[in-house]
Structure formats: C-alpha cells, structure tokens
Symmetry: C3
Subunit: 140 residues, 3 copies
Amino acid sequence: MYTYQKEINLKPRARGFHLITREIESSFPDISNINFGMLNVFIKHTSAGLTINENADPTVREDFESHINKMVPENQAYYKHTFEGPDDMPAHIKASLMGTSVNVPITNGKLNLGIWQGIYLCEHRNNAGSRKIVITAQGN
Amino acid sequence: MYTYQKEINLKPRARGFHLITREIESSFPDISNINFGMLNVFIKHTSAGLTINENADPTVREDFESHINKMVPENQAYYKHTFEGPDDMPAHIKASLMGTSVNVPITNGKLNLGIWQGIYLCEHRNNAGSRKIVITAQGN
Amino acid sequence: MYTYQKEINLKPRARGFHLITREIESSFPDISNINFGMLNVFIKHTSAGLTINENADPTVREDFESHINKMVPENQAYYKHTFEGPDDMPAHIKASLMGTSVNVPITNGKLNLGIWQGIYLCEHRNNAGSRKIVITAQGN
C-alpha cells in the first residue's frame, strides 16, 4: 500500500456551490496509480466546506445556496461572533453542516463516483480568495 | 497493510431511515481479516445518504424522518430544480446534510462501533430502487 | 504503510462545542511516526458528534450552540422518542448533522490543519459523562 498526498490551491469562486471534480482529478494524477483504495479531499478553512452531490443540472447548486441561506440565516440576534461581517458566522456553521472533507473510493485508477455524483466546493463567504485543499490517496 | 473493496446493491427501502449494519457486515466478510484499520461505506447516489446513529428504538429513525422533512421542506418557492418531483431537490440537500459516506474503525476483525451505534441508509426519495454502495476496508 | 490505533476517554464536558485538538494530539503521539497519511477520530456515541471549525474565538462555539438549538429544537410535537428527556432526540439529530468522525491529513508527523482549524467535540446532552473516541492513523 502507498500514500500519495498533495496540497493545491483552488481558484477563487463566488459564494455558492461549485463542481470541482475535474480540478481535483487533473491536479492529482496519482489516482491512476491505485487499483483499490480511498481518496480524501480536505479543505483547510472554516468558512467553506466540501460535499458530494448532483453533477449535471446547475439549478441543483443554486437551490443548495438558496436553502442553506434559509437554514442558516444571517443577522440573527443570538450571533455574538459578528466582527467579520454578517456572512461570517453563518459560513462557519454551513461549513460544518456540509463537512470539511469528502472520501471517495478509488477503483482501477479512477474515482468510483456514481454517474450523477460530483465533488462540490461550498463557498460560504461573499469575497473569498483561493482555498487550500489537501488531497490524499491511499491504496494498492 | 491491505485494501479490501467490494461494490454491493442494497435492497430497496421505503423513504426514511434504515439500519443496514448487518447487511454490510454479512456481505463483506473481509472485515475479519483486519486487526487494526478503517472501514468506509460510500453510497453512489445523490438523493440518499449514510449516517451513524442509534440502533435500538425504531422511533428514533421515525423522528429523524419527521425532523429532516421540517428542516428541508418540499415545494419551496425558491426551488428551481423541480422536474423530478417535489421530493427530489429536498432529497439532494438531505443527502449532503447526512453525508455520502461513513467511516468506522476496525479493531480485532470487527467494526468498533459503540454499543448503541448502527449504520443508517437515509432514503430520501419516495420511490427509490436498489442503492449501490462501495465498501472499502484498509488496515493490517 | 502502518496503522496506529488507540481508544481514549475524553474528559466530560458541558453541553456545547469544545476544542479537543490538544487532547487528541497529546494522547496519540503516534501521529509523529507518519510522514504522509490520514487521521480519523471516531466518537462511539449517538448523542455527541465531532466536527472541525474555528479554533480562536470562543463566541464561534457559543453561536454554534445557539444556532443548532434553533435548527433542531426540543419538545417538538412530532418527536416520539422522548423517554430519555427533551434533550435526547435533538441530540441524536444534531450528532448526525455534525458527524460521527472527522478525517485530517497527516503531513511530516503533524496534523495538517489550516491555521484557524480545530477539532470540536459537539456535546448535545445536558448531563453527559466521559465520551469514548477511537483514533486511527494510517500512512507511511
């Protein structure tokens, strides 16, 4: 068994949900060395998350943004952590709801995703820069 | 260290939360080959999820279904992705809230779950068929 | 590749969100043996969870508690699993929203967290005791 690991910077995105599967695959060709194993993608931030969901219709990603803004609204009277702007504390909560990393099986040198699955960057800040992720593949 | 991996089809379930621990263990006996390691169970769909929770009282699973329907209601005016029915877009969001995979430590050839823990299939569609999962165990 | 694994008991905490990064690192020095790999921290309970979020301002953790209590309120008429008290069923749901385990890359013998990231114990019961976690590190 081997471990391959690489840290990369994702290009900056607007607030919302964005497909990054291809950006991950193209920047981490080591996946092709593994017959059977696991990939972990980890984001080194607390106001953006990662999840796996539908990879075809862009309105799915728009509806994610609409609904998560309703589930975790800005400007609530009980927020104490407000000095970084109204989008900041909701961004922290949203990041934990979506999660900080995703795991994907690797089979025969490829990500073994379902045909409708893609990896999402969940960008919860209004004006975020590049996001750092660590990609780790382990297997035979 | 070794990697064991297998893709299986779960039997179809009704919308709701379902214990699948025994179905996973019985279809993946390779767990017994590992003294210390990790298991990953990954679902290859975007409208069903996996989580770990209470394995004893069936009303816990009923309450999960009641509450997640309140947290992510159907027929909201802001949903744009509506052509697959009112249960579809909520199913995508619920799947990401629960998660696409679970990790469980393996210790002495067995899943090292707490005594009250079981693995749930979170089925969010009204009329879903069989769901594909990939089970991967890695360890010594 | 090697697997290191250890089960430890976290000291009891009050209901709320608590940083446990140092408690994990100090009780699991095996991390320093791994150049490239992954750490998994798994909680063996169904009414407490684990997540990764902001490690600096304590009001972030207070706001997490305020908001999750609003997202998953107690004493809802549809709860059937009520015999362990009003905080119990919400605790199960919150645990699945936050998650039962976290994965962190290990790089050069250290957790490769972002500078603002820490591991949280999400304690959802009013009067919980010590919580058991299983820590597993795998890598080269």
